[in-house]
C-alpha cells in the first residue's frame, strides 16, 4: 500500500524550473533514499511534500488523503484543515536540526504533543522518555540544545519528530552538518528505525549508507528523476550514463 504518492510534480523559482515532472511513490515500511548532485532539487522536493514550499503543479497524496491536485493546469491545495491533518502524519528532520534553543531537550520533544495534539503532559513526558532512551539520550532531558554535540542535537530532533508518531519521516541530509565521526551515530539510529519498519525518505550524500539501509533509491539530476530502483541494481550495475558518472565520483571515497 503506498503511503505517499507524487505525480507529475513541478516547481519553479522564478524562471528556474527546479522540479520537472517528478513522479514516485513510497510504500508503507519502505526506506527510500534520494541521491543526486547539489542543486538537483532534492531539498525542494522534500519541502514541497512537506508543505514548506508551494508546488506549481502535479499531485501529492499522503496516506490516502489528497494534498495537492491539478485542475485545468492549476495547482489546487486541499483545505487548510486537511493540510494540517496531513502535516501531523509526516515528520521532517532538518539538516541543521532547528531545535528550539530556549527549550530544554524534554520541552523540545513534548512541545507538539502537548500543545498541538493536546495530550496530557504526563503522557507526553512518558513517551518522550521512551524516545530518548531509544536515541541513547537518557539523562539529557534537562539539557539545552547548546549544551549538546551536533550528533546529540540531531538525535533530539529525530525524537521530536517521532513524538508525533508520524506515518512517514523525511530526512534532508541529516548528517551533513555533522563531523564525520558523529554521522555514524545518526545513521545507526536510522537503521534501527528501518528495522522497526518506519517509513522513511532520506536525502543523503552517504552512498554506502543509502545502499545499506534503503530498499529503493531515487537518483535525481537537473530537476528530473533520472533513474530509480533497487539499491543493489542502481549502485551495482546501472546502465544509465548519468548515474554512472555521478556514482563514479563517490568511488574511492567510500
Amino acid at each position: 500500500m503506498s503511503i505517499l504518492e507524487v505525480n507529475n510534480l513541478s516547481k519553479s523559482f522564478g524562471d528556474l524550473q527546479v522540479l520537472k515532472d517528478i513522479s514516485f511513490s513510497v510504500d508503507k515500511g519502505q526506506v527510500v533514499s534520494i541521491i543526486g548532485p547539489s542543486g538537483s532539487g532534492k531539498s525542494t522536493l522534500l519541502r514541497c511534500v512537506n508543505q514548506l514550499e508551494t508546488a506549481d503543479g502535479g499531485e501529492i497524496t499522503v496516506d490516502g488523503i489528497k494534498m495537492l491536485t491539478t485542475e485545468n493546469g492549476k495547482a489546487v491545495y486541499a483545505p487548510k484543515k486537511t493540510l494540517r491533518d496531513i502535516r501531523l502524519r509526516i515528520g521532517l528532520v532538518f539538516q541543521n536540526f532547528n531545535l528550539f534553543p530556549h527549550k530544554s531537550v524534554m520541552q523540545n520533544i513534548i512541545e507538539a504533543p502537548v500543545h498541538v495534539l493536546k495530550k496530557s503532559k504526563q503522557e507526553a513526558v512518558a513517551y518522550a522518555e521512551e524516545l530518548l532512551e531509544k536515541m541513547g539520550l537518557t539523562g539529557k532531558e534537562k539539557s539545552y540544545p547548546c549544551e549538546l554535540s551536533g550528533g546529540q542535537q540531531q538525535r533530539v530532533s529525530i525524537a521530536r519528530a517521532l513524538a508525533l508518531k508520524p506515518e512517514i519521516l523525511f530526512f534532508d541530509e541529516p548528517t551533513s552538518a555533522l563531523d564525520p565521526e558523529l554521522t555514524g551515530e545518526i545513521l545507526k539510529i536510522i537503521k534501527e528505525l528501518a528495522k522497526e519498519r518506519m517509513t522513511m525518505v532520506i536525502v543523503t550524500h552517504e552512498m554506502e549508507f543509502a545502499r545499506d539501509v534503503s530498499n529503493h533509491v531515487i537518483f535525481m539530476d537537473g530537476g528530473f528523476i533520472v533513474e530509480e530502483g533497487d539499491p543493489s541494481k542502481l549502485f551495482g550495475d546501472t546502465q544509465n550514463e548519468r548515474t554512472k558518472q555521478f556514482l563514479s565520483r563517490y568511488k574511492g571515497t567510500n
Partner: protein
Amino acid sequence: MKTDDMLNVAKILLEYLPNTLKLFFFTLLFSIPLGVLVTGLKRCRFKPISWLTNLYILVMRGTPLMLQIVAVYYAIPMIVKGAKDSVAANGGEIGGFIQFLDDCMHSESYMFVALIVAFSLNYAAYFAEIFRGGLEAIPVGQYEAASMLGMTKTQTFFRIIMPQVVKRVIPATANEVIVLVKDTSLATIIAYAEIMLKAKQMMNTYSSIMPLFIAGIFYFVLNAVVTAVFMLIEKHYNYYH
C-alpha cells in the same frame, strides 16, 4: 562651593528626582508596547501602512527629541483651537476626543502629558527598530520546525519566536533605556521641573558649575541601577545561547 551648599544642592535635586523618575517610567510604560505595535505595523503587508510607519520612524529618529517636545507641547493646543474654531463655525457642539484634549490641555499636568506623548512617540520608534532587528535575526528554520510540528501561527509566535526575540533585544534595549535616563533632562526645554532644570537654576544662584556636576552624579547613579537591573535580566536568559 562649600560643602554645606553642595549638600543643599543635592537635597534640592533629590526633591525633584521623583519628577525625573516619573518621566522615565511613564515613557517606558508607553513606548515599549507602542514599539511592539510599530514593529507590527512596519511589517504590515498592506504597503501604505508600512510606508507611513517608515515615515514616522524616519521623522522620530531624524529630528531632535528636544524639537519634538516643543512641537507636541505647542501643537496640541493649536489643534484643539483649530478644531474648536471649525466646529464653532459650523454651529456644532464640541465633544469626544477634542473635548478630551481640551480638558487635558487645561489640566495641571498638561506639561507632563505632552512630555510623555513626545517621549513615548520618540522612543517607540527606536524600540520598534530594535524589536524588528531581533525578530529578523530569528532563523527561518525556527518557523519551519514549528510548522512541521503542526503549531499554529499564534503558537509559533508566542511559544517559539517571541521568547527568543526578547533575549536578543535585551542588550540594545538596555542601551536605549540608559539613554532615556539622560534624555529626561531634555524636558527642561519646556521648563518641566526635573533635576536638570533645578541644577541649571542653582548654577545661577551659586554662580558655580557644581550643581551641574551633582546632577551628573544623580544620572550616573540612576544608570548604575539600570545597568544592574539589565545585567540581572541578561543573567536570567543566560541559560541558553
